[in-house]
């Protein structure tokens, strides 16, 4: 890190609310390193019993889809109803589907 850069890097925080569930994005925060990021996340995001496990990843390592390409990226899925299992008629013999 250069001496000019006095800001601590930004980290994204993922919290698992209870055993068996997925880690979900909770927000972001600043920290000097990964250990501090986990501890800051504990203090900022789990003080009201929100979590049992924390992941952090430095924000610069997250690659996101481009919002400007959203139309080309996501809209074509809208009319592909045959990709949903409910599109298909099941034989009456199949129960509990």
């Amino acid at each position: 890190m250069s001496n000019e850069n006095k800001e601590w890097p930004l980290w994204e925080v993922f919290i698992r609310s209870k055993a068996g569930l997925d880690h979900k994005h909770a927000g972001s925060l600043h920290a000097a390193d990964a250990q501090m990021a986990i501890e800051n996340a504990r203090d900022v995001y789990t003080r009201r019993m929100e979590g049992v496990s924390i992941w952090v990843v430095e924000s610069k390592h997250i690659h996101a889809s481009n919002p400007e390409e959203a139309a080309a990226f996501f809209d074509p899925a809208q009319d592909k109803i045959y990709r949903h299992p409910t599109f298909y008629n099941l034989p009456d013999e199949l129960k509990h589907m």
Partner: protein
């Protein structure tokens, strides 16, 4: 076992965490970075929460005492009058209506916040002591104190981690951070000796198996502090002479200011709630 011993011992434990919590609370809104501001506020609230449990227990002991036993408990006239008039005493009365000479907290916790390194050094020295104290207090024959110790210990383990990592981070950081951390450790070290000198209440409590023999914790304390100081590539602080007094009610000039700010509202507007 005398209930006066339990009362005084409980109040001493409570005063330490109340004053420490009040000191750290002063960082609220002024931390160097939002996340660390919240970290310190959390620690402060943990300590004030511990103080509440202890003051509640102390109030309960006072309320159950025969009138003759509690006729001269405190120097503060406001509180003593309330007790003598058979009022039910609460945790708030004990926190807000006693004066400095009734407080038995150690000198370490009332020392000024100073800069970040000074705040870290004070917590580093205090939290390590609390860890050893509460670990031993879990075996107290007084089941309430043992339970409070057990619950508080989980919180203290995090406090130690927070303080130790900052000592290491600053000690192992830049030339300036190292110098500042070393200076703060050196300046606060002289207030650690008192932690291990048994006062009369601690001795009575130990004999009754309610309290901890703090003098027996010193060796482990020294070793554990030294291990972190070494890891931070800092020098172990030294003191030719250790300050004492707080545990016997003889405080530095700082406590009066802390109490003035903390107690002002309840003194000016008694029983006010918000």
């Amino acid at each position: 076992m005398s209930s006066i011993t339990t009362l005084k011992y409980t109040l001493q434990l409570a005063d330490n965490v109340l004053i420490m919590g009040q000191r750290l609370a002063a960082w609220c809104g002024k931390g160097p970075i939002l996340e660390q501001d919240i970290a310190l506020t959390n620690i402060s609230l943990d300590q004030i929460g511990q103080a509440r449990s202890l003051y509640q227990y102390a109030a309960q002991i006072i309320n159950n005492m025969p009138a003759a036993d509690k006729a001269h408990l405190f120097n503060a006239p406001l509180l003593q009058e309330k007790i003598n008039n058979q009022h039910t005493i609460t945790e708030d009365d004990l926190a807000y209506l006693r004066d400095a000479w009734d407080f038995r907290n150690c000198l370490l916790v009332e020392q000024e916040n100073g800069d970040w390194a000074y705040t870290v050094a004070r917590s580093f020295f205090f939290d390590r002591f609390q860890y050893l104290l509460y670990t031993a207090l879990q075996k107290s024959s007084d089941s309430t104190l043992a339970a409070i110790a057990e619950k508080s210990l989980k919180e203290v383990q995090y406090h130690i981690k927070w303080a130790s990592e900052w000592v290491i981070r600053l000690g192992d950081g830049t030339a300036i951070s190292k110098e500042k951390m070393q200076q703060a450790l050196q300046a606060r070290w002289e207030y650690t000796g008192e932690l291990f000198v048994m006062n009369a209440v601690e001795q009575a409590a130990m004999k009754a198996n309610i309290g901890v023999d703090v003098s027996s914790l010193q060796q482990a304390y020294q070793q554990q502090i030294e291990a972190i100081v070494n890891e931070a590539s800092l020098q172990m602080p030294t003191a030719a002479w250790m300050q004492t007094g707080g545990k016997n009610g003889v405080h530095t000039e700082h406590l009066g200011y802390i109490l003035a700010e903390m107690q002002y509202l309840q003194r000016a507007y008694p029983n006010m709630e918000w």
